[in-house]
Symmetry: C2
Subunit: 259 residues, 2 copies
């Protein structure tokens, strides 16, 4: 029910331990690590957790953000910096509200945090459905990783505590990260084949904009299937057009030869 | 305008540094330390502040909570434990709201935090006007000191950001901590003289209950003067009654002698 906490490229094991501790303070347990700098496990994380060992013992390690969120249906990226992506920007309070609603619909939810120095790459943010921005003093933006987690999980727990009894709503299941990534990669493969990404050095930002534009709408599994059908249909169509053009050319050549 | 952060008997310089950092994150600067275990200044605090040096450079050190809050007019004690005192219990959000209103009236405000192990003594909580309790999972209550500060100062900043333009309200100035302590000690001196605290081993808890009962009503300076007059009048009255009784006894003795 509670959000998964995903730390992308965390540098200090101490901070991972402090994150586990504050997760336990607010009733969260599911921790995922993407490429922790010093490997995993790290003894210092346990030392800093003050006994909150279970999020560390059960922590899963991944090679990419895409893998880490593959089974999640709603993921918000926590970052202080304004980004070029056209994603909704939420306060931690609003984010907790949206996550809570999604959780009430049975969705698997998560919060993504960047490493201590580098923060989050735009490509990873583009896999999320919104950005959470903590209302920090612009004169001193260097917020500790565990503090950023603390504020978000505190808001989550406050939202849970304030909640009226849940009302079950029928809905079509929301697509998870793996389904969305499948759609993105399918689309991008076909766009590559079509020569869409031009000039080539703009490809990464074009891909990010496409992904965030498609992802933030929160497609259902059915919608993802529909869109993949759309991509297939369009690309086969292009294939047919190319085949037809090729056939026409061949015909012309043949006709020329015949002339 | 923003609350003063008061750390009572902090043990680890690292935590003091982390507190300074998160204060800077949310626009606070005024830090007070009561009996830091390892003395002050401590180099490790600066190392952990990640550049948020000004709260540390300007930190004031005190020998008692009473001294540290002497000039403040509204102070909340942050503690997870339910206490025997009859003080209002506030969420961090409600506390930020009350502090913000008080600040808008021009009052000097503060948040008091206990040390890492011991927390706060009831005697120190009794000097505050309410208790702030963070909604923590009862299964894992060990919240890091800097995290407790983070959540409260985050709520403060969120409250400030959400605020409509302030409306100035006329008011009589609220008594500060020194004025309240003066009243408490005056009253207790007179109660000692009157043999009120009985049995003697109950004195500390009786004092705490009196202090919190008087303090949570948030007296104005004028009300404190009035109450000190009340205490004086009552104790002088007792003095007069005693003098009268003594005089009567003397008269009786004299009369007996005369008979």
């Amino acid at each position: 029910m509670a959000p998964v906490i995903i730390l992308n490229a965390p540098q200090l094991a101490e901070n991972i331990g402090a994150v586990a501790r504050v997760m336990a303070n607010f009733g969260l347990a599911d921790l995922r690590l993407v490429n922790p700098r010093d490997g995993w496990p790290q003894e210092r994380a346990w030392a800093l957790a003050s006994g909150a060992e279970w999020p560390l013992n059960d922590a899963q390690v991944f090679d990419s953000v895409a893998d880490a969120i593959a089974d999640l249906q709603l993921v918000f990226a926590t970052t202080a910096r304004p980004r070029e992506l056209q994603l909704p920007i939420l306060t931690p309070r609003a984010a907790a509200g949206e996550l809570f609603e999604a959780s009430g619909r049975g969705e698997r939810i998560g919060l993504l945090f960047g490493g201590e120095r580098a923060g989050l790459e735009t490509a990873d943010i583009a896999l999320c459905q919104a950005v959470v921005t903590i209302p920090i003093d612009p004169r001193f933006r260097s917020l500790n990783l565990a503090q950023a987690v603390a504020i978000n999980v505190y808001e989550w727990r406050t939202r849970v505590a304030d909640a009226p009894p849940a009302i079950f709503r029928e809905h079509s299941p929301t697509a998870d990260g793996a389904a969305m990534l499948g759609l993105f990669e399918h689309l991008e493969r076909e766009l590559d084949a079509a020569g869409f990404f031009h000039p080539p050095d703009k490809r990464p930002s074009m891909v990010q904009n496409l992904r965030s534009a498609l992802g933030k709408g929160r497609m259902s599994e059915q919608e993802v299937r529909t869109f993949r059908g759309v991509v297939t249909a369009l690309s086969r169509g292009r294939g047919r057009v190319l085949a037809k053009l090729a056939a026409q050319k061949a015909d012309k050549v043949k006709a020329g030869e015949a002339e």
